[in-house]
Symmetry: D2
Subunit: 360 residues, 4 copies
């Protein structure tokens, strides 16, 4: 059994890790921390986990102890906090006999180049070796190298970037795309377990709330992944505007794509072929026949993708609208983290994650 430690087990990300890992046949949870709930049983704080979490209690222990008791550590803490743990976890982890501890960071701290991180998040990165650690950006469909030997740090992607990047990566990699406008709609669970003006029911019900409409930090991840490197052509112009839905879970991303001038002759069939090829052996990406639905992915690690072409006056491909649907807490967070763990430990990537959506 893989011994998994969770740092920050009381937020929605931590809770979802608990839900998934408690059902994972190859994992046992070695430790879960929460300052606020220290000493309390996990199932007492979270009755839905009774009796699954058994005698497991929240503890308030330091990173060193978490490392000593774990094969893999999930960091479910806010950005700016994870960077305080990582150096210690990796240093201590590597010193012991049975090989290093693996760290999967669900925060933003290791997703971007250092300079970009400091610009976007407006704070100094305290881990001065943040780049040298060569964290893998854990969008496994684009970064299979997470399974390579020697990887010990995964930067688990943000929820919005997961839905957005998967929606357009095949076309971008193929060099077809000139510009993409992501208009994303997320359930409120993405804003966390703490009550706020945003999550106040009368403010959200019967409404939809745009926020950070030009300046959401997640756009940096999208640009990094779509604009360069393996994906290719570069020069893709990426815009992003998020909205909060009157729903609990799910992100539906509407990608308005404009092709490069020379590629506007591409047909429906050709574009379909691009997607099929790209996601051929990817278990958690489903190309659907109709518009994706948040209910189809509810509680699951799937990303459902579908597209439609708008023809211009001369029959050219004027715009491609791609829609993707994910559960923000699973594929957009804790599920993807488990998927990364599976790959690192050479398990089937779907282990503990393989179930249909809760429909209706």
């Amino acid at each position: 059994m893989i011994k998994a430690g969770i740092i920050g087990g009381a937020g929605y990300t931590g809770l979802e890790l608990l839900r998934l890992l408690l059902g994972h046949p190859r994992v046992e949870i070695s430790v879960v921390t929460s300052r606020r709930h220290r000493g309390r049983k996990v199932s007492e704080v979270n009755p839905h986990l009774f009796p699954f979490s058994g005698e497991l209690e929240y503890e308030d222990v330091d990173a060193a102890e978490v490392t000593d008791r774990s094969d893999v550590v999930f960091l479910a803490v806010p950005h700016g906090s994870a960077m305080n743990y990582v150096p210690g976890l990796l240093a201590r982890g590597s010193g012991r006999g049975r090989g290093g501890v693996k760290v999967i960071d669900l925060s933003a701290d290791y997703r971007l180049k250092r300079a970009e991180y400091e610009r976007v998040y407006g704070l100094r990165h305290k881990d001065r070796q943040s780049e040298e650690r060569e964290a893998v950006y854990g969008l496994t469909e684009l970064h299979p190298e997470v399974a390579a030997a020697g990887v010990d740090l995964v930067a688990n992607p943000g929820c919005y970037p997961t839905g957005a990047i998967l929606a357009v990566a095949p076309l971008v990699k193929e060099g077809l795309v000139r510009q993409v406008v992501f208009d994303a709609k997320s359930g409120i669970s993405g804003a966390g377990a703490e009550p706020s003006e945003k999550s106040h029911f009368p403010n959200l019900a019967e409404n939809i709330v745009p926020y950070q409409v030009t300046a959401h930090r997640h756009v940096a991840e999208m640009r990094q992944e779509l604009g360069a490197g393996e994906l290719g052509a570069g020069g893709v112009k990426v815009s992003f505007t998020p909205h909060i839905l009157p729903s609990i879970r799910g992100i539906l991303t509407t990608a308005h794509i404009f092709l490069n001038a020379r590629e506007r002759g591409r047909t429906q069939a050709e574009i379909e072929e691009v997607y099929k090829r790209f996601y051929e052996d990817k278990k958690f990406v489903r190309l659907t026949r109709g518009v994706p639905s948040l209910s189809s992915v509810r509680g699951t690690n799937f990303c459902d993708i579908w597209f439609e072409i708008e023809e211009g006056e001369k029959g050219e491909t004027e715009r491609v609208v791609v829609i993707s649907a994910i559960d923000n807490l699973v594929k957009g967070g804790s599920g993807q983290a488990v998927q990364n763990m599976n790959l690192i430990f050479r398990l089937d990537e779907a282990e503990g994650l393989w179930s249909p959506g809760l429909v209706p």
Copy 2:
């Protein structure tokens, strides 16, 4: 024009008073207080009131000044706070030439007998003349004396009691009822404008939350109004359990009524007749043909009522299920307060309140 002052104009009750009074043809708002927003324009804090509230600003002035500037003062503050204002408002108000100021208290402070109040709310009533002031319980359909000369203090009813009492008063007054179980379902706006665990969207959506299932304070008002005095027969056993709905506005009350043994021969037609007679000239009570709907009363001062009889094995009336629907912020709060004001100032009771529900 009637000069109306509002003490506590930033909560949902205050906001709803503003919405209604700004549209009232015989009222001008003389002052509205808020410590938090002092000095800010009402329409800046609440964009939906632009441009209706014009140059009106939140002020942080004392009760004396509010009195001097007003003909009527609405207290939209929490229980335990209103009692600090009332003595001063009435004393100062009565001293001036043009007759006393009228006070409409939307809190619970003057709804109950003092001893009962202190027991139920668990605090000492600081206004030692609270009973001598002879506040009228402002459920106008049962207390037309609010329009009598000399009334200067109205205890505006609680939201739950409004829906519950109106649902069963005709049968209780007629002496038919032995026992009633109120099972009420309220929109979350009743819990106020402040974010909380209860109002946190993921906690409420796709759920319904019972709370204070045997001990909600509002039951005291129901018992006081249904158990004695004008209403009659006494000895009615009243139970009450509230729930929070995943909705913004509205209270639907399901009253499960069991008749006195000797009254179980009452027919559908007889009971209908009792309701019709009781509410004959009441503008804001509508007896509906089918199940009442929260949308039909949305944004309005109506209380819609409907009932169905369950026959026992011998054809006797085993149970009467009465359903009432109100908008908790209007008939269950600020609208009823305006209705009381209208009656006190000898206006048509519907002035400023006469509009159909927002359907759909």
Copy 3:
């Protein structure tokens, strides 16, 4: 592997059976019928089941063929329809070598005594041996005899009766209860997959809809189970009023319980003890510390139960309010059906059903 056939696989009950059985480690689905979708792949009609349902297609075959291909048949058809299948299924099933086929009927057709059934549902029972078949009422917590040898027909309980009966059975069996008023609130999925006035979003959102407030058919099951036989004391007066919530899944039942006069000295601790003893070894009933939540049982086979006592003036137990929460499609339908199947086939009753609720 147990070969399971599903008759009526396109409604919500059928879909939920598919979701659960496709994940059940000891079951393979041998056949699933739908006239409307005959010849179409299950995963094409229901994209959320891709790729779990593999090549499985909807078929339009007769009961005989379903029997021949199955060890157990789930009837997910409306009441009045199931009775047409059962005689044939059982007759043919018993004739073959490998032992009879087991039938689990999710409709109402075999839940009540024949006379009562015909009165309540207003139609003649076409299976003239309906009583002689000795269908077990499949509320397994009260009817462990479903696991006895020779049982070949299970009448799977209605959704409302499941939540209601489990909430009060311990007290009723102990002879404490004089009267209970069930006020139930259900998600709209209970009304089925077909669009209707009731399920029309603008009619339900921001609302709660009482219906059949004195005459819902499910009350007959509650009375049958609570009023006699094993449970005991008899003479319990049962009232029931259902409401539709603006939610997809879940039934929250509020049981207002009044004890027999001689039992009103019972304390909180004693009543708690009664519940603990009754549900001691029942895996799917959880006694919670706080108010149950529909999210805690979402997608699961659990029934969460909690209660609070209202004291009368002399400290006696005036009323007991019991709250239960289930997922109407799982414990209130298809999950309970699978639980019955597990017991009949001597599997662990939790096989294929053991997962925590989808929170948040």
Copy 4:
């Protein structure tokens, strides 16, 4: 009093006309038609209109009679149907002494040039003089000529075009815009009163449903209004994708605007100035300080607008995100129709429409 007739008074558009016109101080409803409800009282079919609609009954009379009894006729029928009424209404109306009848068509039949209409709606326009009638496109903020003498036919705009065009018209008219992508989110009431797969609660709740993602017909109105004529610069590239929200009312439109290359030096203040000037004397357009909210416009005729600039790397204006919020049934439908009527009859354009949004 203006005598107003409504053809098609049972759908959501008709109902909203009833709600607004019954409260309009200068209007009496002369006739309202519905084949389905003929002979039934309006308040019996729609209990929320009791007692406002008094004795008013649905009738099934022909256009001639409607004309004879009305000064203005609202057509609240589907596209393809309105064109059957208009010629007769205008012909008969003009023949009588007291001047012609005015016709306000809420369908799409007179919004587009004939050829474009026939292409977009895929049907032949049966009114062969559809263009000669010179219907005014009743987006009054852009078409004040609706108040000019001689106008007798108004093509009331579609709900999506209203929110979209108002959001960007100032910038387009100023010649700043090269391209705009409208991503719109609408409450389900826009899909009508008839239950459907789309409006089925379990399909919509906890979801958001994109539809006609590249080919919604309303884009033709947007292009017609934004691409030419008064508005100016021409050559604006317009894309549009609508989504259905799990909400009843409201359309929030997110307009992603890309400026012409030479205009990318425009500052926040300059763009704000453009909006202020354009909407200076427009009562129903509010430029807000923060993100617009559907609740602020709920039940009202307002269009709230706000924008934010995304700067490129060199500080240039890379993208302007404009958000507009309307109530789809009021400003996006029946309210705008009443606004048009007010202007035609030389009333204050806000008569009967001047109220704050239902917040919360």
